[in-house]
């Protein structure tokens, strides 16, 4: 298999896998925060910043995969 085909197959797959992991992580964070707010609604303000930060760290992983894809997708030609 020429490496172009390998890249063409692997890059979308890599993005998808990274997004899968990020999605699970985001879902866990979101669920935990929702639970916490449901249990203690007055804590919503305090939970906001950690939630956003957790989202950011979680989602950064997909972004890394995304950037990697763009760095490598030029080779498919």
């Amino acid at each position: 298999m020429p490496y172009q085909s390998a890249l063409g197959l692997a890059l979308p797959l890599a993005i998808g896998l990274a997004a899968l992991g990020s999605g699970i992580g985001l879902g866990l964070i979101g669920r935990a925060v929702m639970d916490a707010i449901g249990r203690q609604p007055e804590a919503a303000g305090k939970l906001f910043v950690p939630m956003i930060l957790g989202f950011a760290f979680c989602e950064a992983l997909t972004i890394y995969a995304f950037i990697t894809m763009f760095m490598l997708s030029g080779r498919i030609q």
């Binding site: 303000g45 305090k46 910043v49 950690p50 956003i52 930060l53 957790g54 989202f55 950011a56 760290f57 989602e59 950064a60 972004i63 890394y64 995304f66 950037i67 763009f70 760095m71 997708s73 030029g74 080779r75």
Partner: protein, 482 residues
């Protein structure tokens, strides 16, 4: 029918002519657009002539002295119109376009008449109080200034959209065919320019590569002012340079915009603020309350830095939604520069608050006993790496998000244009609007994340962030101690 009706119809016709001529020029070439414009102008000239003629007749019947202008218009207009019509027909311009242009005025008059006939239902639709068609015709025109401003603003908007579309349409495979696009231009100019065209093309190519910061060719991008300029003037060195530096230009633009807006709002600060001042005060107060409420009162010192970062980034991100502008943050260079600034400022703050030795002690994992000192040589590089990875992740996160979001919008604009490609009008299906809403939210969240992380890093550099367990890069997620 009053004469106002004709005046209105004429103005609308002129505006429509500009648009139609532009569309014609985009589609059928320059001659086609010119023919549309000339045909429309000729019909407007006819109407002017008829108006003058009617005024003369009325004046004659009422026994008034006719205005000299009307006499001149009738006497001089007839041969001028005949001559103009002959020139139009014999001038070799595409007759189809001339006819199209000629019919614009009639279309406007018919549509306006229909609108008046349906005035009642229109009133219902626009929520205006019902007025009879007669009153609608006699209603005095709005002031010329208002008319001009709103009318031409509308025309400019539509024309801008058209040019945008025209330049965006071949985009999806655009950067790769940069040399190909420049080649016909060189051919067209002359054979002597062939040597000239090659460096220009190479430069454009380099510019495309450079400004997408190492991204592969073929990434669809919406046109920007420097991009359009560089395309129009493939030989002008300044346009190419402008194109290469466009991110810097837009970043500066965002900064200038913020500074000017705030300066304007606070030009004459009052105790009882007016609207702009109140808005800015509200925003600044909100940022202050948010930061001090989340991290504690000692963060008040860093509100200007973090708040400016937030609004600067927000402005830059939202610039990606505006036609002909570009989000400078969709280039890694911009975000990396900001991340470096944040990194240096955080290190400076840490050293300033902990002292040089305290800083090093902290970097070695704050050893207290013999075991702590023993593992310090291992912890030091890890902590160092943790510090160094922060700006990298900051820059990559912001860049990746904004770049991906703008790319998404550009791709969907392309899809929208492809959907509507079966019909000749230069319109696309606005499928990307959904993603623009998403983009608005994502831009705000990313600006918040960047500035919030900066705040966290600053907070961790303050002395009392010291006692908390925060080893490793991502541990700053627990700042909300109270």
């Amino acid at each position: 029918m009053g004469i106002e009706f004709l005046v209105r119809a004429r103005r609308v016709t002129l505006a429509l002519t500009v648009l139609a001529a532009l569309a014609g020029a985009v589609y059928g070439g320059l001659a086609f657009g010119l023919a549309i414009a000339l045909g429309s102008l000729w019909s407007v000239g006819n109407v002017l002539f008829l108006e003058a003629f009617a005024r003369l007749l009325v004046a004659g019947r009422l026994g008034r002295t006719p205005a000299m202008r009307d006499v001149a218009a009738v006497l001089g207009g007839l041969p001028a119109l005949l001559l103009g019509g002959w020139a139009l027909l014999a001038g070799g311009l595409p007759l189809l376009a001339v006819t199209l242009g000629f019919w614009i005025l009639f279309a406007v008059v018919v549509l306006k008449g229909l609108g008046l006939a349906l005035a009642r239902s229109l009133d219902f639709a626009t929520g205006r109080s019902g007025e009879s068609p007669r009153a609608a015709v006699r209603r005095p025109l709005p002031s010329r200034r208002t008319q001009g401003l709103t009318g031409w603003a509308l025309v400019a908007l539509l024309a801008g959209g058209m040019v945008l579309w025209a330049t965006a349409a071949p985009k999806p495979q655009a950067p790769a065919e940069h040399p190909a696009a420049a080649a016909p231009a060189g051919e067209h100019a002359a054979e002597g320019h062939a040597a000239d065209a090659a460096p220009g093309a190479a430069e454009g190519h380099a510019a495309g590569g450079g400004h997408a910061s190492g991204h592969p060719e073929g990434v669809p991008e919406m046109p920007t002012i420097p991009g359009v300029l560089a395309k129009l003037l493939p030989h002008a060195a300044w346009a190419q340079a402008f194109f290469v530096w466009e991110n810097l230009f837009y970043a500066l633009l965002a900064g200038v915009f913020l500074i000017v807006a705030v300066r304007w709002a606070f030009a004459r600060p009052k105790l009882v603020p007016d609207r702009p001042q109140a808005l800015v005060e509200l925003i600044v107060e909100g940022a202050h309350d948010f930061l001090t409420g989340t991290f504690g009162p000692e963060m008040a010192r860093y509100v200007p830095f973090v708040g400016s970062l937030f609004f600067y980034i927000l402005t830059m991100n939202w610039m990606g939604m505006v036609p002909f502008l570009k989000a400078p943050t969709s280039s890694l260079n911009t975000t990396a520069a900001m991340a470096v600034v944040v990194f240096l400022y955080v290190q400076y703050t840490a050293i300033r608050h902990q002292g040089l030795f305290g800083y090093l002690h902290h970097m070695a994992g704050s050893p207290r006993d013999a075991i702590g000192w023993a593992v310090a040589p291992v912890l030091l590089p890890i902590e160092l790496m943790g510090e160094l990875i922060k700006p990298v992740s900051l820059a990559a996160r912001l860049f990746g998000n904004i770049f991906g979001e703008d790319l998404l919008i550009a791709v969907f604009i392309g899809i929208g244009a492809a959907i509507m490609a079966w019909q000749p009008a230069p319109v696309g299906f606005p499928i990307h609007v959904l993603f623009m809403f998403l983009g608005l939210i994502m831009s705000a969240v990313q600006a918040l994340v960047f500035s919030l992380l900066t705040a966290v890093y600053l907070y961790m550099a303050l002395p009392h962030g010291h006692d908390e367990e925060h080893h490793g890069a991502g541990s700053g997620a627990q700042p909300a101690h109270a």
